[in-house]
Symmetry: C2
């Protein structure tokens, strides 16, 4: 069976090396040395600062929203994984959907501007598939209307634009390090903050507002948002070989492009591709379903990432019209992409896709 | 250095056995077989049903509150770890504090009844140190005022009262399996629900409202509240030897009682002790501070669990008067208790405590 993604499993001895550190010291969680090491190495690798590791990508969003005091409404994209919107709604913030543009698949700034209401306190763009958003215009709108700009940058691992890490933009940017991601910590996530004070507030908030032993007061609100040393151990073992992981994904990605780019549209331009996903846009929803069915018949599971568009769901539908997102969501398909996938399998998948297209 | 607690580290080969299962199958998270196995074995061991494993004890509380639609105000105890109150406040529910009674150190039902307002939607008692609450009276009040009853049962591992597991009471009961707990999964927690439908709602809510592949709609709200297979592996390795862990803690606890019960008050009656903590009540706050200082001088770190009482903190203070909680919080001290603690160390700690009392 071939799935759309498959967690990378680090070399066992390498993993053991890090796990032993945690077990030998009996320091299994609570901001230990492995989380500290992973933080430092990720700040280097991603060229960011004020990076905070957290328990998962949803907590990253929730902690960022709380640290930046988001309330009322936030404008976001309907073309994303459900977590972007549900992290808002869970905390009592209403997600308002603005449409995407066909090129970048990210928020269309003119649609964002049109969706602003007196209750709006934030814009939450998503760098879907690691694609850059219209940052300059979004920042301009945020400044003009005094809104916070918080990127859901869950897919941006390693992605840069104009020389800058996509994780370094906005008031905050959040990532997911879920097992299925390009880089993972089993479960995990991170937030980067522009402002050091907000970072400090968030840092305290993931440890119950700062649960130091024998404190004489509690003066801040918090939850448990901590990444464990054990999950950090997986992250360190994976980060040790991240270049190999990326190279392997690139090879697979190139093979798909070589075999399929005459037949269908790759949603991520080759020069912007951080190989986090391999999304292709099919001519119609019917065709998308045909391709899925043909692949399923060979036990190959492609995924309709990200469908349905959230403004069309029962949980989040609010009457918004986002025709581009609706159309793209109906025709998008992510092809299997993970380091262990053999090139021969890529060829077989591509042939099935091609045959189903005709 | 002796700390108040120290995570139990499972036998490495036993741990490896479970970790290999996850790594061999590349199933690292998302409700995998280890989480399923741990769920089943914990339901057996704790004599509960409808048990849902989650990422940590705070998420357990938050998911329970959401599944039971708690809003407005909830009445809880100020004599608890900050998470009980902060989990409410983070989700926009105002914690209202009612006093505890001196005997059980848990919510005094008459104080709960007096604190009910038209906005109250829940009572959140805490089984502090694994102690039973006044369940029958609390349930009566909850029924009379149509309130939900949600136990923060974070300390109750293995605790029973009147033949029933303390985890099996109320509309829901939550636990923490943090590394420092009697039973741990590094980071983790659990919720049990009385009602199967509410359990199902919560189960979906910890996976983004039910993130099944290629779903055609989203019809429920969720977050990422999942326990990973890796954390479940630690839980299984620990559960394999839980009887030994408990026996060892009992031996230490008995030694403290033998050496110190003539000199000070143990807050948990011997026949109700699930050996989750070893709290003693000192004659005065000054005396408590003296004992702490004397222990610190020998690099022994006792903890003022749970001080300050939350109604007296800047973050949660609301003018409530809870004189019993205030008094107990000033005089309580938890002595070091973990399986690796040597009886010779227990003796040394006890001698230092005794000397500081005079």
């Amino acid at each position: 069976m071939i799935t759309v993604t498959r967690p990378f499993i680090p070399d066992r001895r390498r993993l053991q090396h890090y796990l032993d550190k945690a077990c030998d010291s009996a320091w299994l969680t609570n901001n230990g040395p492995l989380v500290a090491e992973l933080t430092e190495r990720l700040e280097d690798f991603l060229a960011v600062r004020n990076l905070l590791l957290v328990a998962n990508g949803t907590i990253a969003l929730q902690v960022a929203f709380k640290a930046l005091a988001i309330q009322g409404e936030a404008i976001t994209t309907p073309f994303t994984f459900v977590a972007t919107a549900s992290a808002l709604k869970w905390q009592g913030i209403t997600p308002r959907f603005a449409d995407i543009d066909r090129q970048s698949l990210t928020l269309d700034p003119s649609c964002v501007a049109a969706a602003i209401s007196p209750k709006t306190s934030a814009i939450v763009p998503v760098n879907v598939y690691g694609l850059p958003c219209h940052h300059n215009r979004l920042e301009q709108i945020a400044r003009e209307y005094r809104l916070k700009l918080i990127y859901d940058a869950s897919h941006t691992f390693g992605a840069r634009h104009g020389g800058r890490s996509l994780m370094a933009l906005g008031d905050a940017a959040t990532m997911s390090f879920h097992a299925t991601k390009l880089f993972h910590t089993v479960e995990g996530g991170a937030i980067t903050f522009r402002d050091r004070d907000i970072f400090e507030r968030a840092r305290k908030s993931i440890n119950f507002g700062d649960a130091t032993p024998n404190r004489s007061d509690v003066d801040a609100l918090g939850i448990n948002g901590k990444m464990s040393e054990i999950h950090a151990a997986f992250g360190l073992a994976n980060l040790d070989v991240i270049d190999q992981i990326i190279q392997r994904r690139q090879a697979i990605n190139l093979e798909y492009r070589r075999l399929l780019s005459q037949d269908l549209v790759f949603s991520v331009p080759e020069d912007q591709d951080n190989v986090s996903y391999c999304p292709v846009l099919l001519p119609s929803e019917e065709c998308t379903k045909n391709v899925i069915a043909a692949l399923e018949a060979s036990s190959i599971h492609a995924r309709r990432y990200f469908s349905p568009a959230l403004h069309e769901t029962r949980e989040f539908g609010d009457g918004s019209q986002c025709p581009v997102a609706s159309d793209v969501a109906r025709r998008i398909l992510c092809l299997p992409l993970y380091p262990d996938l053999e090139l021969a399998e890529v060829k077989r998948i591509s042939e099935i896709v091609k045959a189903a297209l005709n």
